[in-house]
């Protein structure tokens, strides 16, 4: 528990990165919310999908929680503070576990404003109208956003702990999701049920024929987390800190 406290203190006492990420995230969320509401209110009747759109705008936070997870692991290597971290806690898997805990907390902190802001703005903008209402389905989507963000933060952390280099992590994650998976899906369609991108969609409750069920998606992501977590532990344990 004390290692988790130390990891959270690291984030809290060098907050520029976190603040930068939060501000970038909020800017995108704000822009998306305003665009969505402006477009919806141009019509005489609000589109039926508006409540769902408002509930899912915050899903953009997943991009930032992935990045945050990676940074929690790689920043220490970049600044050399990993030496002191491993001196304080030489059993390195404990450090990874503490960082995973910190990544979970950070993901929650990143998602909260991203889901609250659209809800609050929509409440002010169209809250009084009969054709706008947030219900159980929307709250479930918001809850799924928290879960999805937690999972991708862990993925970012494990990839970061394995690779050490921030730029390498960003290139790998973006390359994987934007190029490798679509290419793999096109070449071998049978793999689509086991791809990270689609599994995240399943966790978030995305719509579409090819999106796996929530349970299947959770199982796929759990498998990825297991493999990536094991890889992170093995590589971190074997790594010489020179």
């Amino acid at each position: 528990m004390r290692l988790l406290g130390a990891e959270l203190l690291k984030i809290w006492t060098a907050p520029r990165t976190l603040l930068g990420i939060v501000l970038a995230e909020l800017a995108i969320v704000l822009l998306g919310t305003i665009t969505t509401l402006h477009s919806a209110t141009n019509e005489p009747v609000l589109p039926s999908s508006l409540s769902r759109d408002i509930a899912t705008i915050g899903q953009v936070a997943l991009l930032f929680t992935t990045l945050m997870g990676a940074l929690i692991a790689t920043t220490e290597y970049r600044h050399g503070t990993i030496t002191l971290t491993f001196l304080a806690a030489p059993v390195r898997e404990k450090v990874i576990a503490a960082k995973a805990g910190a990544a979970l907390v950070a993901s929650g902190l990143l998602v909260l404003p991203a889901v609250l802001l659209p809800v609050v703005i929509a409440g002010i903008w169209v809250g009084g109208r009969d054709d706008y209402r947030l219900g159980g389905d929307e709250y479930e989507l918001i809850a799924r956003t928290f879960l999805g963000a937690a999972l991708v933060a862990m993925i970012g952390l494990f990839v970061g702990a394995s690779l050490k280099r921030q730029l390498g992590v960003v290139i790998l994650v973006l390359g994987w999701l934007l190029f490798l998976e679509p290419a793999l899906e096109a070449l071998v369609p049978e793999t689509q049920d086991y791809l990270v991108g689609r599994a995240i969609g399943g966790v978030l409750g995305s719509t579409g024929d090819d999106i796996p069920s929530f349970g299947h998606a959770c199982a796929v992501l759990a498998a990825y987390l297991g493999v990536l977590g094991a890889l992170a532990v093995v590589l971190t344990r074997r790594r010489d800190i020179t």
């Binding site: 004390r2 130390a6 006492t13 030496t83 491993f86 304080a88 059993v91 800190i241 020179t242």
Partner: protein
């Protein structure tokens, strides 16, 4: 006790540490000396569990570092002076370390006082001078009030006043019975404070001895000048004293004292114009033992 036992570390084709063995005595200040690239830092990092040895082992109190119950409370370490997040203040850097090691945060202020860094503690460590960073590193090492300190070139970046401050600090810590293992490639930094030294060169053990023993081993001999050099040489040979070299009126005598040489000359009525014991410092001993000609 720190014990290094047949330690070897290879980085691909480079052998950084080569079958190294030595012991660091409890309660003493031991210097760990060698030229740059000798393998000191690698050895220290293996002792601290940061680098995995290719062969052999290094233990503290008979255990691997990672097997110690409370490592930072038993061993304090100063490694590189740049191991800080530049955006974190010195105080917060120590607070993070204190949180990780389970040390109460009140201890942070205590160690800041010890290293005389209270005024700058609120500033971002990225703006610190190298000397201030070294002080902060030392503060971090002292957080857990450990009985063993492992210091890798702690005087790097310190000005002469800082070096004096470091010496006094280490002396006071040693006086409390702590074991201090301090590496350096600048002998003048540690010569005045170490009880004994371990010298390595190209990853290999060269010698472990007290500083006095070491200086004696490579003492420079006696320089004696006489207008009767040939007679003096003969007298010394007769007395069983070896003349290491001669150059006109100048002789260099090994393994003898000035008193012995003076008495031999006086007994034969030989005039001496100069009789000097060549002094040797730890620096000279170090250079002698790690010179390419030494094969060390």
């Amino acid at each position: 006790m720190i014990e290094v036992d047949n330690l070897t570390k290879r980085f691909r084709k480079t052998v950084a540490v080569d079958d190294l063995s030595f012991k660091v005595r409890d309660g003493a200040i031991t210097g760990f000396l060698g030229p740059n690239g000798a393998g000191k830092t690698t050895t220290l990092r293996i002792i601290l569990g940061l680098v995995r040895p290719t062969a052999g082992r290094a233990t503290v109190k008979g255990r691997l570092y990672r097997e110690l119950e409370e490592p930072p409370r038993e061993v304090g370490a100063v490694l590189e002076a740049s191991d800080f997040h530049p955006g974190r203040s010195g105080r917060n850097h120590l607070r993070v370390l204190a949180a990780a090691t389970g040390v109460p945060s009140s201890r942070v202020e205590e160690v800041l006082r010890v290293v005389d860094l209270e005024e700058a503690a609120g500033r971002r460590a990225g703006g610190y001078s190298l000397g201030m960073r070294q002080r902060l590193s030392i503060a971090g090492a002292l957080l857990g009030d450990p009985r063993v300190l492992v210091l890798d070139e702690p005087a790097n970046g310190l000005d002469p006043q800082g070096i004096r401050w470091l010496r006094e600090l280490l002396r006071s810590l040693a006086a409390e019975g702590r074991t201090i293992f301090i590496s350096s490639h600048v002998l003048a930094e540690v010569e005045q404070i170490v009880d004994e030294v371990v010298i390595i060169h190209r990853g290999k053990f060269v010698v472990q001895a007290s500083t006095a023993e070491l200086v004696a081993r490579v003492a420079g001999g006696i320089r004696v000048r006489s207008p009767q050099a040939d007679q003096l040489r003969a007298a010394l040979d007769e007395a069983g004293v070896r003349v290491a070299s001669s150059d006109g009126e100048l002789l260099t005598v090994a393994e003898a004292t000035t008193a012995q040489v003076g008495e031999i000359a006086a007994a034969k009525g030989i005039v001496l114009h100069e009789l000097v014991a060549e002094s040797s410092s730890l620096e000279e001993a170090f250079l002698d033992l790690t010179s390419p000609e030494s094969g060390g």
